[in-house]
Symmetry: C2
């Protein structure tokens, strides 16, 4: 274990820009994702620890055991903030324990300590968090893996605690929990109690002024997210007709009523749960919640759009309590709910269980920590499940299950699935209805192929700026926001960084990610699975029809990635 | 079902040159390998039906469910010869049956007939062949799949009958049996009894003269293959130190004595089995055999080098009877023995069963037709087995298990694994000790990286000529042979084809294969799995050290594939 100042090539970088730069430079693209030459990097964003709202997201990156390409997955909660308070920019986990031991890494104002963790072996994250809070105090932040991470299943995520200390925030995508497991780390305990780190602002007054104004604006504009959480989108996606239903068979779910944000809101309220909960200190959006069971006991937190749709509608399940129970199990086992929703949908497609059968879906999830062959198949995600059972309709790109947007019904997101170095993430370039790119005067229709490659790439670049700065993208992805962020960067660090510089940093990050993937054996643009090109999606009777060559040329030319 | 003359773009092409040209032109690279837009193509070589020795191999190609790239796998036996006798150059299977029915395709001098095959569902290939021979006569040729092909497992091969009618020759690699299964074809019955096809030689006399001389030479030079079969190589590979042992842990097996060609020879002889058996009419090499059990009853045919090493040494098993039993099970289930050897090795690495435990290995194989989750995992090959069980040491490239040559101990074959569009096939460019490329004065040392990219590519080009002509590569891969083949081509078809033209056709075939793969999402050169770069192989303490960039540049520049 060594501690050092950020080496020269990484100076000025944060979040995903830092994790990807370090991986591209130090990890051989040919390495096994679970082997000793892979590195897992956790990096705070460039505004972490400041009062700028929603700036405490933590990027976790490595070569992914799910996509076998470079990956970054970021997570909210208090951990980014606490690491910054300890003056830490990044943690890098290298090598591999020789004898299968597991460890707890404890960080505090005194320094760092690696402690034996065998007593926590195979603990679920909920019980683990309880034990660690008992031992290290109720206010420490935790990053942790469940049994799935220890089993190195490629759908395993890394849990992070929220303000209440619940391990319910997830760097879920791409198997980062499996990589942490391969390094022998069960948890990182972050104790910032006696932290003395002071932030040297270049212009504190200006920074605080921008932060204050921005917070006020968010407080005004994000009322729906505050009231209904991200589940507010459920009804909207259904209405637009891109809601993945029964393994992406249709774009609307006839039983949607059971899953909407309104239904969830009313259930939570009537059972005495909690709405409008922030995941990180100072967040004015507060899209999180605590979902109680029928008796009013906290069941899971937070129930989100992606989880509800993928474990719900995508599996033909309209029972929110069942979805909440699956969410709790996934969180406790340390699994990505999105990948599990996609995998169970594929298992249903394969005929292992019927669509809509929540009890069997829950039983299937319980196979995972039991380590049965079937459990290991599902725990390795939708692509592996599809391969093992010979399923033709498998909604994955680069081995990763798609987010809860059918690309036929919202084509810009389809382009993101094809061309993001990350695989089928929505966050990588979320071309929601009405979104525009750098040229705000240019509009796009979600059902039409025209210009979607432009829109997607513009958004991929913008979100990469956000990921480098550690920001939640709910604060609003737009050139205008990025101009504000450039001002903020100047107030934080000095006059060097302009809007153009931020964009250039994001583009450079995307480029090195693509180059890593190419050397890892993955072509930089992937087709969507065949059925999106051949099966018409109800209700709009659309296929995915953005031409492959158009995407290939636009994305690769613009990012200066070898392509001809 | 339609019959047509070979369309213009395919004229003059045969074997792999034809299967790959048709797939590249007509199959969308984005298609699901088991879906209706994939096509399975069977094409005879350009000398099929003639008396030129070993010219009856049949190429079977499709987008592979194992590699997800373009694939060609070719097979001996009588089927190529019989198809040519019926005047058929290629069979193309398209679409997919709507209701899971299975069919038998019957070809004879009258034409073709598609017959219901439900009575043969889930039959092993041995029993199937017996039934079909009863029904259609003992002399028909058969192409068939076992239960594994019907289950569309990606290690399923296509069996072809030999002269005795035993379904023991395999187009094993790349899951061609699964693709045939996805088309609903259980078997093709080829009845050439009343075939009237006459070959119009451009110069019959010259053709016969070349064929006669070539046959005489083979008869003289291939005595070891005739006596010991391909198993003659077992002791040699062990001596050289590149024999995959216990999942590619070492290059020598301390119990090799149980598996050598000499041991096999003596066992077969003492039990009254058969040695020196030709697989196709007129073959003077006769490397095939019938291996009997301890009571003298035929157990399997033919026991080959790749099978013996991968199901034997690679699983730590030194009992030839056990290997023969596994070979028989694989043949009967319709599985590639090579992929199964690699997959069982990986399962042993994962701790599912101990290295060397033949009884458990046999039990594991029996899970496959039973369709258990574990059976489906293994039946989908080494890569999937490794992914499901989180194994770090998985000897695959492009999802396909390596042939029985450890690339650290024989580096030119390692380059072939990296850069062949086919994945880790030895036949794709078999850089055996002493082999040279187009410049016969230039020699290569198997343990040194120098020049291996040249040697591999030269051999890849030469073998592609062989694959287009339908030739067994045991007749001797060399520029000299190819010059003879150009003469032969002229005697067969006229003066158009020169040595250079044959080479150009092969290079064009490799190029379109790489382009297909690139559009299917696969980078054209792949790293070998990490452990070949990091673990030293006994006895020579070597890692694989041919630089990735060297291979990338040499192969892609030479084949004119986009790479910068």
């Amino acid at each position: 274990m060594t501690e050092q100042t950020l080496p020269e090539p990484y100076q000025g970088l944060g979040g995903r820009a830092l994790t990807s730069a370090l991986i591209a430079r130090e990890v051989p693209p040919s390495c096994h994702p679970l082997g000793e030459r892979n590195k897992l990097v956790m990096a705070v964003g460039l505004f972490a620890g400041t009062p700028f709202p929603c700036s405490g997201r933590l990027s976790i990156g490595a070569k992914s055991p799910l996509t076998w390409g470079i990956k970054e997955s970021n997570v909210g909660g208090t951990v980014g903030w606490k690491l910054a308070r300890l003056g830490l920019k990044a943690l890098v986990f290298e090598g591999r324990p020789l004898n299968g031991e597991i460890f707890i890494l404890r960080l505090n104002a005194e320094g760092q300590e690696l402690l034996p963790g065998d007593e926590y072996k195979k603990l679920g994250t909920y019980r683990l968090a309880e034990d660690l809070h008992k031992k290290y105090g109720p206010r420490v932040g935790l990053l942790a893996i469940g049994p799935a991470g220890e089993m190195q299943l490629s759908s395993a995520g890394v849990a992070a605690t929220d303000i209440q200390g619940t391990p319910c925030n997830y760097a879920g995508r791409g198997g980062m929990g499996a990589v942490l497991g391969s390094k022998g780390l069960k948890a990182v305990v972050i104790d910032d109690q006696h932290a003395k780190e002071e932030i040297n602002f270049h212009d504190r007054k200006r920074f605080m002024e921008i932060a204050r104004n921005f917070t006020a604006k968010l407080r005004e504009t994000k009322k729906e997210l505050r009231e209904y959480g991200t589940a507010v989108e459920v009804a909207m996606s259904n209405e637009f007709g891109y809601l993945p239903t029964r393994n992406f068979r249709t774009g609307r779910f006839e039983k949607i009523q059971g899953l909407t944000g309104e239904t969830m809101h009313d259930l939570i309220k009537s059972r005495g749960g909690r709405l409008s909960k922030p995941c990180m200190p100072g967040c004015p959006i507060k899209c999180s919640n605590v979902y109680p069971d029928a008796k009013g006991n906290p069941l899971t937190s937070s129930l989100e759009y992606e989880t509800i749709v993928l474990l719900g509608a995508n599996c033909g399940i309209d029972d929110l309590d069942a979805v909440a129970e699956m969410d709790r199990l996934c969180d406790d086992y340390g699994l990505d709910t999105m990948e599990m929703g996609a995998a169970i949908g594929v298992a249903m497609e394969a005929g292992l269980l019927p669509f809509g059968d929540a009890a069997q879906a829950i039983a299937l999830l319980k196979e995972i920590p039991a380590g049965t062959p079937l459990g290991r198949i599902i725990g390795n995600g939708a692509e592996i499940t599809g391969r093992v059972f010979g399923v033709r309709r498998v909604p994955t790109v680069r081995g990763q299950g798609m987010a809860a947007y059918d690309p036929r019904g919202i084509k810009g997101i389809g382009v993101t699935y094809m061309s993001s170095p990350m695989g089928a993430d929505h966050t990588a370039g979320c071309a929601m209805p009405g979104r525009t790119g750098f040229d705000a005067s240019k509009t796009y229709e979600i059902l039409k192929p025209d210009g979607q490659e432009e829109l997607s790439l513009d958004l991929q670049v913008m979100v990469t700026v956000f990921d480098a700065l550690g920001l939640c993208f709910f604060i609003g992805l737009s050139p205008e926001t990025i101009r504000t962020l450039a001002d903020l960067h100047q107030a934080r660090y000095g006059p060097d960084m302009t809007f153009d510089d931020l964009i250039a940093m994001a583009r450079q990050t995307l480029k090195i990610e693509h180059l890593f993937n190419l050397r890892a054996g993955l072509a930089p643009v992937q087709h969507l699975p065949e059925f999106f090109e051949t099966e018409r999606l109800e209700p709009h009777q659309v296929v995915f029809d953005v031409p492959f060559e158009t995407v290939w040329d636009h994305i690769l030319k613009n990012l200066d990635v070898p392509h001809k």
